[in-house]
């Protein structure tokens, strides 16, 4: 039984962007985990979870 990828969801206070990071990429991003992909500033944590209903509203940040 699996439950799909688990994300941490953020929004950027500077540009308003909503984005998410898969938790298993914490070691890949290190201190940059949670940063806005546009502004490169730390985002504000919104929630975490897998397959949340508004998942598609958040841009996935990957390598």
């Amino acid at each position: 039984m699996t439950w799909g990828p688990m994300y941490m969801y953020y929004r950027c206070e500077a540009c308003g962007k909503r984005f998410k990071y898969a938790v298993d990429l914490i070691p890949v991003f290190g201190d940059r985990f949670g940063d806005c992909p546009a502004c490169h500033k730390p985002g504000v944590f919104v929630k975490d979870g897998a397959r949340t209903p508004d998942d598609a509203d958040y841009e996935e940040v990957d390598e």
Binding site: M1, T2, W3, G4, P5, M6, A22, V23, D24, L25, P27, D48, G49, A50, R51, P53, D55, E60, D62, E63
Partner: protein
């Protein structure tokens, strides 16, 4: 040419129509997808059931209804059925096994340890449950698909092998990239395989990655001599920002990867031979 087995896990217990409208939920939808994926090259179907509200259930009635429907509508379909034993976090040990005893599928999942579930709950596989399940599956002639979410679960399988709860040769499913499990990347996959080779030599294995690691794990499995699992249980997306159109679409891509590599896609009977299943 080496043969690679494709397992399709069409629905799992969690994704709903809100996540992807193409996830099969009802027995009829599940049967449709199983047949469709079998035609595209899947040799094994790992099945979960949903209740009438769409939530994961271990209802024997739903398993019975679905398997009967598949056999009635598609008598030509010789796909290997692998029924879950972990389809509802609140199920009792009894309801997690009752459908296996009645239906006697060729395979059933065996989650070889407990873990935190999405940092909010518990996915419990108590030692008492695992001992009973392993012995029952031997008695009922059902091959366990040992789901390992981290290397410790492989070590646990080695313990059960020595204890006679499990019987060699084992078949593992490496579940990569799940929260609280081992991350989905090549280094981790190699470590899982090395751990299996040293602790349970002679075992066969398959893997999948949830989310971004799906393709990396697919290619890794083929290159390292493993087998592949795909399906909307693990990934409702086909690619970043693109929902899967069907389970068949995911199976077809896995088949293309296998063929491009130079392997062949194992038929159900070839999979039976690889896994040592007596039909």
């Amino acid at each position: 040419m080496a043969k690679t087995i494709i397992t399709v896990a069409p629905n799992g217990a969690w994704p709903k129509k809100e996540n992807n409208p193409n996830v099969p939920i009802t027995p009829q939808e599940i049967v449709h997808d199983v047949y469709d994926c079998w035609q595209a090259g899947a040799a094994i179907a790992h099945l979960h059931m949903r209740d009438d509200q769409g939530f994961g259930t271990m209802s024997t009635d739903k398993f019975r209804e679905t398997v009967a429907l598949l056999r009635k509508q598609h008598p030509d379909c010789d796909i290997i059925l692998n029924l879950t034993t972990s389809g509802d976090l609140n199920a009792t040990d009894e309801t997690r096994m009752a459908h296996l005893e009645e239906i006697r599928p060729e395979m059933g999942s065996y989650d070889c340890g407990s873990m935190n579930w999405l940092n909010t709950s518990l996915f419990i596989n108590h030692p008492d449950f695992l001992e009973r399940l392993g012995k029952n599956m031997q008695a009922w002639g059902i091959k366990p698909e040992i789901e390992a979410f981290d290397p410790g679960m492989i070590a646990n399988a080695a313990y059960y092998l020595k204890k006679g709860v499990l019987k060699a040769p084992l078949h593992f499913q490496f579940c990569m990239g799940c929260a609280n499990g081992i991350p989905g990347n090549m280094k981790s996959l190699l470590f899982m395989k090395d751990t299996m080779d040293s602790l349970c030599p002679g075992s066969t294995w398959s893997c999948f990655g949830v989310g971004h690691s799906a393709m990396e794990m697919t290619y890794g499995a083929v290159a390292l001599g493993g087998h592949i699992r795909v399906g909307m249980e693990d990934n409702v997306m086909y690619a970043k920002g693109q929902l899967a159109e069907s389970n068949r679409q995911l199976v077809e891509r896995a088949a293309r990867v296998i063929r491009e590599y130079g392997n062949t896609v194992a038929t159900p009977d070839e999979a039976r031979e690889i896994l040592g299943l007596a039909r």
